[in-house]
């Protein structure tokens, strides 16, 4: 057993609060102890090595005293909950509406909801990091919206890694939307410097009832030193909607697993994402959409720009079960390599067992279009700037499709910085948008 695995089990053994989660913790610990550490021969980890992570030592999550003055945040009217190194910080957080609680403050009724659902979708017998986080289960948020209700503001979960020590920051989020309910959640991850080297293993489970709607933004903006092994597990009822957007800049390793399961007909999944690793960063998205019932749709678009010696993995699985007639599923993944040492492994995986379905998929490693470059240059723009504009455009196309304009505005300067674009241009766009 590697250092990390042993260390997590030590931490699990001394974790005793809250008491009402002890059964789940125990189950998680057992499963994590029994798990054999993935190698390149493990199906889910073929393209990403966990050899270095196996040797990593981590401390128990602890709260640092942190000020957020210069942290870029989404400028939205939202209920904000701040977690520092995985620990809830009341000082930085807003007063919460009745539909939202931390596990520590959960009422009897809310405890029942957590116990009914937690770990049900994030299957710890199957997902290594779901097991890991379940074994040390303590910190988390429940968002439970009653039938027909709509949260009046988005919930903003801000996860910050800080301090010299590498901690295990592992929060669990559970969203339960009853029939016809609606909610919007931002998850944002940051760290306070390139040296900060937490292992962040944040898992989010979302139960979307019949006719309910959920909008979800998961933004991995951590700096260089972070390892992130996150998961998003979603179940959709009849006529439900999941609309998700994911973005990752890159770090030691940022891995996110999305598992979305259609359990009621007429439901729709929309999932878009962007990844931009550079330097020696590694980003890995594994998505898995399960069509178990008829008449559901899913549309998934991921785009990446991989620079320097960075590496990206995109594995997009669509499983259309035998009963899932009339499924409509689309998956597109496009990658742009901006250096000849950059690497991408992209793999759509289709398993189709129903005969009356429409399924389109494509995975490409693209070059910047020569004709477009020539067009920009013919207008006096030099080649290098034209390349930057086009790379930006490749990503911007997806960003502009993000429904929440506060999120778009938040992401634009981050992207501009990533592409070395002039702030003045952005300002001009903003001015122009207002004046038009």
């Amino acid at each position: 057993m590697g250092v990390l695995q042993a260390r997590v089990l030590e931490l699990a053994a001394i974790q005793n609060a809250p008491a009402w989660l002890s059964d789940l913790r125990y189950q998680g610990g057992e499963r994590f102890a029994a798990a054999s550490w993935p190698t390149r021969r493990t199906e889910n980890w073929k393209y990403t090595s966990l050899a270095a992570l196996a040797k990593k030592d981590v401390a128990a999550a602890h709260a640092e005293s942190v000020e957020f003055n210069d942290l870029a945040m989404i400028d939205a009217d939202a209920y904000r909950l701040v977690f520092i190194n995985g620990v809830f910080s009341e000082k930085h957080s807003d007063a919460l509406p009745p539909q939202v609680t931390t596990f520590a403050a959960a009422s009897e009724e809310q405890i029942t909801v957590v116990q009914r659902h937690l770990g049900r979708l994030a299957d710890s017998s199957e997902h290594l990091f779901a097991a890991l986080s379940q074994s040390v289960l303590e910190q988390g948020v429940l968002i439970h919206v009653a039938a027909g209700q709509c949260l009046d503001k988005p919930i903003y979960l801000l996860n910050y890694s800080a301090g010299k020590q590498a901690c295990l920051a592992s929060t669990r989020n559970l969203v339960v939307l009853e029939e016809g309910a609606q909610a919007e959640v931002f998850e944002q991850f940051n760290s306070d410097g390139d040296e900060q080297s937490n292992l962040v293993a944040s898992q989010t489970e979302v139960v979307i009832g019949n006719n309910a709607k959920f909008k979800h933004y998961r933004l991995n903006l951590e700096r260089e030193g972070i390892t992130h092994a996150g998961g998003v597990f979603v179940e959709l009822g009849r006529d439900a909607l999941y609309s998700g957007f994911a973005l990752t800049k890159g770090a030691v390793l940022i891995r996110n697993d999305y598992v979305l399961t259609h359990r009621g007909s007429g439901a729709h999944v929309e999932l878009n994402g962007v990844y931009l690793p550079r330097g020696k960063q590694v980003v890995d998205y594994h998505t898995n959409i399960q069509h178990c019932v008829p008449h559901c749709t899913s549309s998934e678009v991921f785009r990446g720009i991989i620079g320097d010696q960075a590496k990206a993995v995109f594995n997009g699985r669509i499983h259309i079960h035998q009963d899932a007639q009339k499924t409509l599923a689309e998956l597109s993944n496009k990658n742009l390599l901006t250096s000849n040492k950059a690497e991408v492994d992209t793999k759509p995986e289709l398993e189709i067992y129903a005969d009356d379905v429409r399924c389109a998929h494509g995975a490409t490693v693209a070059q910047l279009n020569d004709e477009s470059l020539y067009y920009l240059q013919s207008r006096g723009i030099d080649r290098e700037q034209a390349q930057i504009m086009m790379s930006f455009g490749f990503i911007n196309e997806l960003i502009q499709s993000v429904e929440n304009s506060d999120v778009v505005e938040f992401l634009m300067p981050i992207l501009a910085d990533q592409f070395g674009r002039k702030e003045s241009l952005l300002q001009m766009e903003a001015d122009a948008l207002e004046s038009l």
Partner: protein
């Protein structure tokens, strides 16, 4: 302004221009007509500096400089502008950003300062009014989802903003209805000046009723086979190109 001597060019091993000569003085408007596949767009591409087109012989002097020696963007800086027959769509790059970047780049090369965004917006709005392109198009991606006519208007808009000294219009009229044709012609005519020249490539004499040329040339088989004044365009309209076959050979 522009001196093309014995220009020969090929693309993918195929000889297309075979000894083309053309002299354009400041303030002149030259029309180039000719059958499909004659090499009209190739001429535009070679002048603008498109990489795939290889010049095998001849020379092109523009503003006293060796044009063929310059990068694509340097040609634009020097005042050459090509309105594309098929303008490309670049989704995700806003038309506004594109226009501002190109105006800034060309101004910089000419030793002028960047425009403030307010100044630029004013210019862009005025120009878009002139070409009757709704301002909403400034917000869209470059040519993204534009109709054929809207793309051509966007080309003329760019031409107005960049104030080139030589404008090459490659079939800007094709696919336009009468109203759009009038708008494009008005834009061009408003820009005519003693030190700005135009090379108007067209299939139809129709455009030349609006933009009256000083010279008309027939390009066939990779060279100029006949030159004349505007009456030549009428003659071509009436007789087609086949009567020129002898001269092509």
């Amino acid at each position: 302004m522009l001196r093309i001597e014995n220009l020969c060019a090929r693309v993918e091993e195929k000889e297309i221009l075979k000894g083309l000569n053309l002299h354009v003085k400041p303030g002149e408007v030259h029309a180039i007509m000719g059958p499909n596949g004659a090499g009209k767009s190739t001429l535009g591409s070679v002048l603008a500096g498109r990489e795939a087109f290889e010049v095998t012989a001849g020379s092109v002097a523009f503003q006293g400089k060796d044009l063929l020696d310059l990068d694509v963007e340097a040609r634009a800086h020097l005042g050459l502008f090509l309105a594309f027959q098929y303008p490309v769509e670049i989704p995700g790059v806003s038309n506004m950003e594109f226009l501002k970047s190109s105006v800034d780049a060309v101004r910089k090369a000419r030793g002028k300062s960047d425009l403030s965004s307010v100044e630029f917006m004013k210019l862009a709005r005025e120009a878009s009014k002139k070409v009757k392109l709704d301002q909403a198009f400034l917000k869209r991606g470059v040519n993204e989802g534009f109709s054929g006519g809207e793309k051509k208007r966007n080309e003329i808009l760019q031409m107005m903003l960049l104030e080139p000294s030589l404008c090459i219009l490659d079939e800007t009229d094709s696919g336009l209805d009468i109203d759009a044709l009038q708008t494009v012609a008005d834009g061009v005519n408003a820009m005519r000046s003693p030190d700005r020249s135009f090379v108007v490539v067209t299939h139809y004499q129709r455009l030349l009723d609006y933009i009256v040329p000083d010279y008309v040339h027939v390009l066939a088989g990779g060279k100029i086979v006949k030159s004349g004044d505007k009456s030549l365009a009428k003659e071509l309209e009436a007789k087609g190109y086949s009567w020129l076959d002898g001269e092509v050979a």
